[in-house]
């Protein structure tokens, strides 16, 4: 079994080159547009805007499918539930259950929202190096420092955590194999079975944290102030244009929702 966190696909497309801050804000505006969309059709229309971006980023359909596959059963369940539980104008019957126009609409609305929200998150994480993402978040949170938010410490924690994830995943795999060799079973996901995995993982992770703290102190780490970066973020005209379009999409969706009175 091989576990992985990321799905970052290195590349040099226009989407890859966008500033991570623009992509983060764009993701939230796109999310707002989807949440504001009042009907299934509107959600699909607003959501489809991401499709050309997926193509422009050079992500293959099989890659996207692999990322979205775990959601398929969940999506089908949501759609089916809406379909059979919504009263309204009957279009057809599925056995004894009437299927309504409203049921189809709500089903498509929920389906489109979840599908496109997750697709957008996949697009962001596939085209943005995790460390660039952490940098972008730090810069977006920086104004919070004035009100006492320890944004630099949070960003450092985020960067370190991203660095630790692959190491701990490997460790988890090793522990699982070791425990299986001792007769443990991780099948059936019984909560009690998880302790023999989680406890050793904790002990080893905490030891690593100690080592890291010592290493940081030995190198005289003094907090984030005045720290320089290998990569400077640079917000360009393209980033502004991208945000402007995302903002227009969100505004359009909100306007349509208010106008349609839903």
């Amino acid at each position: 079994m091989a576990f992985e966190l990321g799905q970052y696909v290195p590349g040099n497309s226009a989407i890859h080159r966008l500033d991570p801050r623009a992509k983060l804000l764009g993701l939230f505006l796109y999310g707002l547009a989807l949440l504001a969309a009042p009907t299934g059709g509107a959600a699909i229309l607003a959501g489809s805007v991401a499709l050309p971006l997926v193509l422009a980023a050079g992500l293959s359909p099989s890659f996207i499918w692999r990322q979205l596959r775990p959601l398929v059963i969940f999506l089908a369940l949501i759609f089916f539930l809406q379909l059979v539980t919504t009263p309204g104008t009957i279009l057809m019957h599925l056995g004894p259950v009437p299927l309504t126009r409203e049921g189809f609409n709500l089903g498509f609305l929920a389906l489109a929202r979840v599908f496109f929200l997750v697709l957008a998150a996949v697009l962001l994480t596939a085209t943005t190096d995790p460390l660039a993402l952490a940098d972008g978040l730090e810069r977006l949170l920086a104004p919070g420092q004035r009100v006492g938010l320890p944004s630099q410490e949070l960003a450092l924690m985020l960067t370190l955590a991203l660095r630790f994830v692959p190491t701990l995943l490997e460790e988890a795999e090793r522990i699982m194999r070791a425990q299986i060799a001792r007769g443990a079973s991780f099948r059936g996901l019984q909560v009690r079975n998880l302790l023999p995995l989680v406890i050793p993982l904790f002990v080893s992770a905490f030891r690593r944290a100690e080592g890291l703290a010592e290493a940081m102190e030995a190198r005289a780490y003094q907090g984030g102030k005045g720290r320089t970066r290998m990569r400077e973020l640079n917000f360009t005209a393209t980033d502004f244009l991208f945000l402007l379009l995302a903002g227009a999409l969100a505004a359009g969706s909100l306007y349509y929702r208010l106008k349609s009175g839903n």
């Binding site: 999310g31 775990p70 709500l106 929202r113 370190l160 630790f164 909560v191 905490f206 703290a213």
Partner: protein, 150 residues
Amino acid sequence: MLTAKIARGAVIAALYAVVTIILKPISFGYLQVRVAEALTLLPILYPEAVPGLFVGCLISNFYGGLGPIDIILGSLTTLAAAWLTYVWRRSWVAYLPPILLNGVIVGAYLAYLLHVHILLAMVSVAAGEAIAVLALGIPLLKQMKKMNVG
């Protein structure tokens, strides 16, 4: 924040993300048991788990949640719950914030997002949280205390 605390917060964040990734099939969605939520009791032992859990939840939601709404609201809910657990760490009340806050806030936005009944969504999210927190979180905490980890 001391270096040691930042480092420990970071590994708690990474642990949260790792447990979420390993147990992905039951981690997400509307009927969810996110086993990593068992870690939400850690602020009882370590104050640095409060930002750690927030960061861990942020990473998990970026790489596998329901997109921007989970990234913002889900992570902030975890932060608020972790802080309350820390504040009430001397009492059993500390077990409740992750269950109740996630149930109410995550339940509310899932109900809106998926057009399901709000009470149904809240109860099912709270139930999933309760399983993670009570059935795994409490034994984990006891074991950590006993072994004096960290």
